[in-house]
């Protein structure tokens, strides 16, 4: 059923591979797995889908191995997790010698003939997951019911309303004593089921109220059960008139249920013994019923199971064991467990969130780092904190390194050679600084806003720029661009650049269609021989569907060379939402097979955050695209590029 199973070292050598059912070669999906999950620090959950395959993987951080299994997406194989764990253990134990050799020679020279063991483990795993044959129903003679006498099965009223309710699974019972109990318990069961099925985190006020009410009833039920049942009986007797039935006008004695069955003596039927058991059984099986005590014991039971499962030597707790463990840690043969890392990771996560990294990204990052470090053997004299910090730092630098090349000038030169303009589009929400960073022009000592924008930088490098004013909505947008253009032309007059105007504004006023203006601007640039076209769009909120459609249309129709998302460095968790929705809108409304998504990020207002630089991490993590420009706005040279190491250092600073 499996398509393939590979075991390879983190250095890239495939140690053993199993090609199952006529599947394609394993290399391409595994490479995709490595690139998108492990290298982008999304290693939180251990499964990944690639085209038609689902890939599940496990990392061995002690010996630097990766175990990957691939199977068809439409199948749901339940034994895969267990299989990976078993294979991991067996492989590690069998070839321990090769792994412990220094350097890669052990891996290169060893032959890993694992096929027989693997087939055996696979067979075991498949068998353990097979559905057992449906059990044959017992005949009536075999069942317990046939052995009971009729009298035993008559349930007396006062004693067993609780069990009866449970047995009938809350089918509405007409008894007064039990109605009070049944109602809240029924409601709470339903509620609990809902809450269990739905979001576990959301405990609305109502549900809390319900829970409390239910507890209250239960507590009083136990105490007042005995006292309550005779009371309503007494009331009933007062108001009730003996009913006359047509059939069965038997004497009142038989019909009188008020006698408590204190004669639970020799004739005590097996039902009495069985009922509590059955009740308990029901208690455990009902999903909604979570009493306080049981809840805790369930948790404890789970914890015990979890601790027993991993076969790794768990850290011994207790006086001597603790000291031994500490010594071992000093010497350097201690392997990292989840429990060791959890407190440190919690602290790091809070630290990251304090530095303005979006909360979900901080969580995912810490998960991924935990996965990478689990089982790793620490070096001598390194503490858990330092190892985790080191790993986190590496992960952050990795995220900030661009996945694709980021060299605008180079690409502009290329486009110049092909005699077409290089089109850059700026998009973003309102007020992040698109027009400002685009068009800001140099060093006018008297002006308020100093510093360089992107067009200034391009002009300094000798490229002629056409600014397309596609912000047809905001009042004063066109005038702002016109003022900047005039100043730019004053700074770089045509005479000093061989007679051609370095920068020009293409505008069609307000209220027109932005995509149309952009298209005209590009053809105008091509005719006039401009090198770069900077398209300035209107700011829009990511939730505004018609505006997002309009933006997507602009980008899809004009096919710019570079789509830059302008975001401010002050944004926190919003960054995630903005980028996701922008990308989604661009992907949804594009006709092409591979839609144009955001290619790069411009981070503005960087001088307003001193070292809370988390927004950079959030944005690059979401899109995995690089930060192309950073706008600072206070120093002379305003346009900067991002230095990954400096940003990470600022992030990790206490």
């Amino acid at each position: 059923m499996l398509d393939f199973f590979t075991i390879f070292s983190k250095g890239g050598l495939v140690l053993w591979c199993f090609q199952g059912v006529r599947g394609p070669a394993a290399t391409a999906p595994v490479n995709a797995l490595i690139r998108s999950v492990l290298l982008q620090e999304r290693g939180g959950n251990n499964s990944f889908t690639h085209e038609a395959l689902t890939l599940k993987y496990k990392l061995d951080n002690q010996f630097e191995l990766v175990f990957v299994v691939g199977f068809q997406k439409i199948l749901t194989l339940t034994y895969v997790d267990k299989l990976i764990d078993d294979v991991h253990k067996e492989f590690r134990d069998k070839y321990r010698n090769e792994f412990q050799q220094k350097g890669a020679l052990g891996l290169l020279n060893g032959t890993f003939d694992f096929k027989d063991d693997f087939m055996r483990l696979l067979r075991e795993a498949e068998e353990s997951s097979k559905v057992r044959a449906p059990t044959v129903m017992k005949t009536f003679e075999q069942s317990l019911k046939s052995q009971k006498t009729v009298k035993c099965m008559i349930e007396t009223r006062g004693e067993k309303p609780k069990e009866k309710v449970k047995n009938k699974k809350n089918k509405g019972s007409k008894k007064d004593g039990t109605e009070g109990v049944a109602a809240p318990s029924k409601a709470s069961a339903g509620d609990k089921q809902l809450s269990a099925a739905g979001d576990k985190e959301e405990l609305t006020k109502d549900e809390i109220l319900q829970k409390n009410r239910e507890e209250f009833f239960r507590r009083h039920m136990k105490a007042g059960e005995k006292s309550r049942s005779p009371k309503p009986d007494a009331q009933k007797e007062k108001g009730k008139k003996p009913r006359v039935w047509d059939l069965g006008n038997s004497n009142a004695k038989v019909l009188d249920y008020s006698n408590s069955a204190t004669n639970g003596s020799a004739e005590a039927c097996p039902v009495e013994e069985f009922d509590p058991d059955m009740a308990l059984g029901d208690k455990n099986r009902e999903p909604g019923r979570l009493y306080d005590l049981e809840y805790e014991s369930d948790d404890e039971a789970e914890e015990e199971k979890v601790v027993q499962n991993p076969s790794k030597p768990s850290v011994k707790k207790g006086g001597l064991g603790g000291m031994f463990g500490m010594l071992k840690g000093l010497v350097g043969s201690k392997s990292l467990t989840r429990e060791d890392m959890d407190p440190v990771l919690e602290k790091m996560k809070d630290h990251l969130i304090a530095k303005n990294v979006a909360a979900e990204i901080a969580v995912q990052l810490c998960e991924s780092v935990a996965k990478k470090l689990e089982g790793k053997v620490m070096g001598t004299f390194t503490t858990v904190t330092s190892t985790v910090k080191q790993a986190l730092q590496e992960a952050l630098v990795q995220i900030l390194q661009p996945q694709r090349r980021v060299d605008v000038l180079r690409d502009v030169m290329d486009a110049q050679r092909h005699r077409r303009p290089y089109v850059v589009t700026f998009c973003g929400v309102n007020g992040v600084g698109k027009s400002t960073n685009l068009a800001k022009a140099g060093q006018d000592p008297g002006s308020q806003d100093r510093g360089d924008g992107i067009s200034f930088w391009l002009i300094e490098n000798g490229f002629s720029v056409l600014i397309a004013a596609c912000d047809t909505f905001r009042a004063g947008a066109v005038e702002q661009l016109r003022t900047h253009t005039r100043r730019l032309n004053a700074l770089h007059p045509p005479e000093s650049h061989g007679g051609r105007t370095m920068v020009q504004l293409y505008e069609k006023g307000y209220g027109k269609d932005a995509a149309g203006i952009a298209m005209e601007a590009i053809s105008y640039a091509r005719n006039q021989g401009f090198d770069v076209v900077l398209v300035d769009t209107a700011g829009r909120m990511q939730d505004n569907a018609p505006l997002m459609t309009a933006l997507a249309k602009l980008i899809a129709v004009n096919a710019p060379d570079l789509v830059l998302f302008v975001g401010e460095a002050l944004v926190g968790n919003e960054a995630v939402d903005q980028l996701v929705k922008f990308n989604k809108a661009l992907a949804d409304h594009s006709m092409a097979q591979t839609p144009r998504l955001i290619d790069g990020i411009v981070l503005t207002k960087f001088d307003t955050i001193d070292d809370k630089v988390g927004a950079a991490i959030s944005m690059t993590y979401i899109t995995s695209k690089p930060i192309v420009f950073v706008g600072t706005g206070q120093t002379y040279c305003d346009l900067r590029s991002l230095n990954a190491k400096a940003v990470v250092a600022a992030l990790m600073k206490a």
């Binding site: 250095g11 490479n31 020679l105 990795q398 661009p402 090349r405 040279c637 590029s641 230095n643 400096a646």
Partner: protein, 256 residues
């Protein structure tokens, strides 16, 4: 006063003249000298004994690594970490070099380069000759980053550009690759130095100018020896046959 000192000096001389103390002194001095020499020699020996295998993703570095060390063909995946092993350069010489295979993925390559560049005695830059036409900009950019690195410029390790995958018919020749790289690096010099400076003031291009100003870039202008060699890690006879690594091995012998 001289008289006052003299008896003291005499006493000292008598004490120091004692054979036990003298021998102890000599022993101490000998130990100190040995220690210093040992430190010096080890420092010389352990620094710069590594040959780094760099290159883009899928250039064939890991397979090259496996072939050089074991001679056999191995399946490979994208590397996530480095692998290192001691490589015996040739049968008669007893010199060993440590071959280090670094991952080529964009997010990892600079990190690992930082870690190992100080120990590099030589660098093998592996280029995929088949996909070169498509990837020339990325190849040039990585090569540029390696070349302007301050540690690399200072140590000037020997550089070999191995044009891999020559077993495929569409592979470009070493000469063509050299020309294209020179042209591309020429352009990169200009664009990189004009790129916006980074936040804390350290420029991305570095103050180092690659080659001579004014003239077109040429590999001979670099402070280190650069050679181009064609090789094929897979080998022309497929997976079972030998790899075609003669040029590479000869160069390694020269460098070690």
């Amino acid at each position: 006063m001289a008289g006052g000192l003299e008896p003291h000096l005499e006493a000292l001389r008598r004490e120091l003249g004692g054979p036990a103390v003298l021998s102890v002194l000599i022993a101490l001095v000998a130990v100190a000298i040995t220690f210093l020499i040992w430190r010096f020699v080890q420092g010389r020996r352990s620094s710069r004994k590594a040959v780094l295998l760099l290159g883009l993703c899928d250039a064939g570095k890991t397979l090259l690594f496996a072939r050089l060390l074991s001679g056999r063909y191995r399946d490979t995946q994208t590397s996530i970490t480095d692998s290192s092993a001691v490589y015996r350069v040739s049968r008669d010489k007893s010199t060993n070099v440590t071959l280090i295979d670094l991952p080529g993925h964009e997010s990892l390559r600079l990190q690992f380069l930082e870690r190992f560049k100080a120990a590099a005695r030589a660098i093998v830059f592996v280029v995929d000759s088949v996909a070169f036409q498509r990837e020339v900009k990325d190849v040039a950019e990585f090569l540029y980053q390696v070349l302007v690195d301050s540690t690399v410029l200072r140590n000037a390790p020997a550089l070999l550009i191995a044009c891999n995958k020559q077993d495929v018919t569409m592979a470009k020749s070493a000469k063509l690759i050299q020309q294209q790289l020179e042209k591309e690096l020429n352009t990169l010099r200009v664009t990189r130095s004009a790129a916006p400076t980074s936040l804390d003031g350290s420029a991305t291009g570095g103050p180092a100018q690659l080659g001579k100003k004014g003239k077109d870039f040429d590999f001979s202008q670099l402070p280190m020896k650069v050679e181009f060699v064609e090789c094929s890690a897979r080998g022309s006879k497929g997976e079972e046959g030998e790899a075609d690594l003669e040029g590479l091995e000869k160069w390694l012998v020269k460098v070690a």
